[in-house]
Symmetry: none
Subunit: 402 residues, 2 copies
């Protein structure tokens, strides 16, 4: 699909705004979903005049993580392009991940006489864990020719990048986790699964020894377990794939990180949705494509807080006129997956979407909701097809064939 | 798809019930379809609260046979996994087909001086044909190292299994039909298309000679024509693919046979739908997945008996509360294909479906029918995706990606 689209790209001065309300889709509680319960006059009006439907992030019945959910929205098949756990962790902690890097999820653990007594170092408090990570950061900066970068996380978790002098070849991340998965066992040694990974595995083994040396006086966090060795996936950038100058406006690092994987500009934006909109408005002349991410809708869904999720949707709707008034050529409002408060987590349900452009039928839906969107002109379609639809509506795709 | 699902399986104690009303979908006669005409209060209530839609067994415009229709429902791509005609015939006649077997559809024919005079032996009556098959069964039990098993069929038709001592390798069934397709020609000799088939072809040639010897006194059925040489397809079992202990409750041998191909337990159940439901209820604790097959809906459709099909649907609906009251985690009611009485045969039309679980929107359809299902939240989807949807609704699939 992306290859087909790539061959038809033409550029113009249109603007596309993609707003992702994270985890937007929901399920009924007392007969109505979060979106159905929410008072959303602006989105309802857009749904009445725009094109609506539902999109399937990965496949029927498959619940997507945030990585696959966003890659799909960006037009990259999430089954072809899988993002390693280390990369996602590092992106989530705001690290500047590059093509020269191996990314790792790390745990502090407790070891005694070569045996792992606690895989989570007693879930040490985050402030203690941060201090220990600071010590490591000072003590270990380079191993062989690899720079070592640390990012502190919550409790016993943190992320590490091993930055090599040149981009890594495929297979360089083929290294087993050192976490034995059970207490009472010895940690595993980092071993290369391919010859391309040998150099990385050597650095990893030295890294584990050095950490153990630095932490040997610690009561609980006296060892490190490595998981999710991974390199950046090789993805065409938005510029290469679609000819778009794209910017990601997101306050949570993970989402900017995912956007960076596809070459979007990822400015630091702090605050809430109003600050994100302020950034969008202030920089509206600079880009063709705006990805604006609203995190809190998902967070309340994950907590099973139906009413909290409803309120976050309403708050967004109240701010939305500030974007609508810019009159972008294509305005899309949707989610990356469903997070029904009823299920307290991501789910497989298709995600409602509004696409507003001058080139839609409209008039099929009374408002914006999961059920109204089943009546829409877009039907139920694979999320990965959204970008071609957006580009078409923006006049950015030529005719296929004569 | 099945590979993706396989990697995400988690087990729990949920129950999934899949009810297949064979040939359920229909077309209007005097403005209404069989399902629309039928009085079905229980299915209508389920359609109102459950998720509805239509599924496409093979592809747009493609009319499926029973084999592809069921494989699709079970989550196996019917274009990748084709079931040989010999296998289907043997399963339909209730034979215990194994991986060591070559299955064949056979016809009695009339031969004179080496020329086929009648390819169907004058369509001899079934009772005569059965007696002749019994004679063959006594006379021919083994050829080389292959056991020969017979199953009598209707009129001039029957099935044969050649059972070898060990499982057959791919290509072992690459042997031409011996039926010349036209009267007035000599029968063809069974010839191997690959070296793997040579041993089987040798047995087949000896088999034809032996049969001719035994039947040489017969007036009409004095020869045998062989068609549809085939081996069991290699399919992952339901246990392997989905982690499900599955049982097939079917009174017609073909459907139990199809279920056996995917490793379901296939108890002998005789009687009608009530006896099938009795079996389901009595064995509800023993399995995770229940495939319950209702044949008669299709049979009346094939006969072009609109009213008979309607009545079979109503009879099923009247019994359905006995299953609903078990409150399975996921209850699915659908067909394997459409059989409109108007067309007196299978058709390509997508098949209406209800999926009931706690995790659906519901409220979109007024009742259960082809037309109401077009308004449902499931849309029109490939049948092969049904299993992932069922597993998701049963909480049996993990998240894809982080």
């Amino acid at each position: 699909m992306q290859k087909l689209v790539h061959g038809l790209i033409q550029t113009n001065s249109t603007k596309i705004v993609l707003i992702v309300l994270d985890g937007l889709g929901g399920l009924p509680v007392n007969g109505k979903t979060e979106l159905e319960t929410a008072d959303t006059p602006t989105m309802d009006a857009l749904a009445q005049s725009g094109a609506c439907g539902l999109h399937l992030p990965v496949a029927c019945g498959i619940t997507p993580g945030s990585g696959p959910g966003h890659l799909s929205l960006f037009g990259y098949n999430p089954l072809e392009h899988q993002i390693g756990r280390g990369i996602l962790e590092a992106l989530g902690l705001g690290m500047d991940v590059r093509r020269t890097d191996i990314a790792l999820r790390c745990n502090y653990g407790t070891i005694e006489q070569g045996i792992i007594k606690d895989r989570r170092a007693g879930r040490i408090p985050t402030d203690q864990s941060r201090k220990i990570t600071e010590r490591l950061k000072t003590a270990i900066t380079k191993i062989d020719d690899a720079e070592i970068h640390f990012a502190p996380g919550m409790e016993h978790r943190f992320a590490v990048l091993m930055r090599f002098p040149e981009p890594l070849v495929p297979g360089a991340d083929s290294i087993n986790d050192t976490d034995p998965q059970k207490e009472g066992k010895a940690p595993l040694e980092a071993a290369a699964g391919t010859s391309a990974a040998e150099r990385v595995a050597r650095v990893a083994r030295k890294f584990v020894s050095k950490v153990a040396e630095v932490l040997k006086g610690e009561e609980k966090a006296n060892y490190i377990l490595l998981r999710g060795f991974s390199v950046m996936p090789h993805l065409l950038s938005f510029k290469e794939a679609y000819g778009l100058n794209a910017v990601a406006i997101a306050t949570y690092p993970m989402y900017g990180g995912l956007a960076k994987l596809v070459g979007m500009t990822t400015p630091a934006v702090s605050g809430g949705v109003q600050e994100e909109i302020d950034y969008l408005r202030a920089n509206y002349d600079k880009y063709d494509f705006f990805f604006l991410h609203v995190k809190k809708v998902d967070s309340y869904g994950e907590d099973g807080d139906f009413d909290g999720k409803r309120r976050r949707i309403e708050e967004f709707d109240a701010l939305l006129p500030q974007i609508v008034s810019l009159n972008p050529d294509v305005l899309i409002i949707t989610g990356d997956h469903s997070t029904p408060a009823l299920m307290k987590g991501h789910s497989w349900h298709p995600v409602p979407i509004i696409l507003k452009s001058p080139y839609v039928l409209g008039g099929l839906c009374k408002g914006f909701s999961e059920r109204e969107c089943t009546k829409g002109e877009l039907g139920i379609f694979p999320t990965v097809n959204l970008m071609s639809l957006a580009l078409a509506n923006a006049g950015r795709l030529k005719k296929f064939g004569a």
